[in-house]
């Protein structure tokens, strides 16, 4: 093998190395897994601002039943959703609220508890493509044999905006 061949092989092998590296560098999504009663759901962790416990909830009228009221965080009111009411038409009894991070849409979700924060590779997330559920869930992932649906926060906000037009 002369030097030209050596360089050629080196170039080609370094290219393969890059491919391998890109596979190894598959994006890991950090998901916050939370419970609504015993059922687990997830949101992308970078969308969550904080979890608050035993905070006062203030009732607001003229909204759908899946809105439980407002919560005050440093003088900023957040609209609190009851996802159990949204999904199953039953009210959730819970004392924790997950405040979402946003500069414009001040929303929060009542939750039973935080289960864990887990890193899931892109290949581990099954994006939802069916028309029925793609609005509410981005997709799902399998965590230790349990299928966990990932909440589409923006679509839930959009649903409220849409429902309010009919009130």
């Amino acid at each position: 093998m002369d030097n030209d061949e050596l360089i050629a092989k080196l170039e080609s092998s370094s290219g393969e190395g890059e491919d391998t590296l890109s596979v190894e560098e598959e994006i890991i999504h950090k998901l916050l897994i939370f419970q609504i009663d015993d059922r687990k759901y997830a949101v992308y962790a970078d969308l969550v601002k904080e979890i608050v416990i035993n905070h006062d909830l203030y009732f607001i009228p003229f909204v759908p039943p899946y809105i439980t009221g407002l919560i005050n965080r440093q003088g900023q009111p957040y609209t609190v959703f009851d996802l159990k009411m949204l999904f199953t038409n039953e009210r959730l009894q819970a004392s924790k609220v997950m405040i979402m991070k946003s500069d414009s849409d001040f929303i929060a979700f009542m939750i039973t508890d935080v289960a864990e924060i887990s890193g899931i590779p892109s290949s581990g997330i099954n994006l939802v493509v069916s028309s029925e559920t793609e609005s509410t869930f981005i997709g799902s992932c399998n965590l230790r044999g349990e299928e966990i649906f990932i909440i589409n926060v923006q679509e839930i906000y959009n649903r409220l905006a849409n429902d309010l037009q009919n009130i």
Binding site: D56, Y58, I60, F62, V63, P77, Y78, D105, A161, L164
Partner: protein, 188 residues
């Protein structure tokens, strides 16, 4: 090198608001909306009907009156109770949708065609005048803000002691409720 100093306004803008308290929470009404008010003993109104809107005879006039207790019961699931109640009188603004809705209601309720330019709201509880810094008021977060404003619930104030307080616009609140009645939802 020169330096600049910027002065900020030391006199914060304040809103003169009537805080109505009844043990069930607080509501705020802009003082500028109210022309006068009278305290009554709650028992004086026990003979009033069970409707959200009533015709109230006062100073020789038939006046449209909103029973805010019934409004609270219907939309906030609150049943106000107490020994005193207060009636706020206010002038119906020219061009307000309330003028047309009130005329329609009064004509239907008592055949009254010469409509008083005054309307009234009866609330069980007590009232006090407060000067509240404008910065203490917050808009409702979207998207709930728009439907609440349409119903006359303009914005809110959150206090450490009293919790949440809603600033209501009497014209819009009464006009939307009267519109519900005229479109068949009933004066329940």
């Amino acid at each position: 090198m020169t330096s600049r100093t910027y002065k900020t306004s030391s006199a914060a803008v304040k809103v003169e608001a009537v805080v109505v308290t009844g043990g069930w929470g607080d509501f705020l009404i802009n003082r500028e909306e109210i022309s006068s008010s009278i305290y009554y003993h709650a028992s004086d109104f026990s003979r009033l009907g069970n409707h959200m809107f009533q015709v109230f005879h006062y100073n020789g006039e038939d006046i449209l009156l909103l029973d805010f207790d019934r409004y609270l019961n219907k939309y906030f699931s609150i049943t106000p109770s107490g020994k005193s109640c207060i009636i706020f009188f206010f002038d119906i603004r020219p061009g307000s949708p309330l003028k047309e809705q009130a005329a329609l209601f009064m004509k239907t309720a008592c055949g009254e065609t010469a409509l008083s330019n005054t309307a009234a709201v009866k609330i069980t509880g007590t009232a006090a005048l407060h000067h509240i810094p404008l910065k203490e008021f917050h808009f409702f977060p979207e998207p709930v803000r728009t439907p609440l404003v349409k119903q006359g619930i303009l914005c809110l104030r959150i206090t450490e002691t009293a919790g949440i307080q809603y600033l209501i616009d009497l014209h819009t609140l009464m006009a939307t409720q009267l519109e519900r009645i005229s479109t068949g939802y009933g004066n329940e």
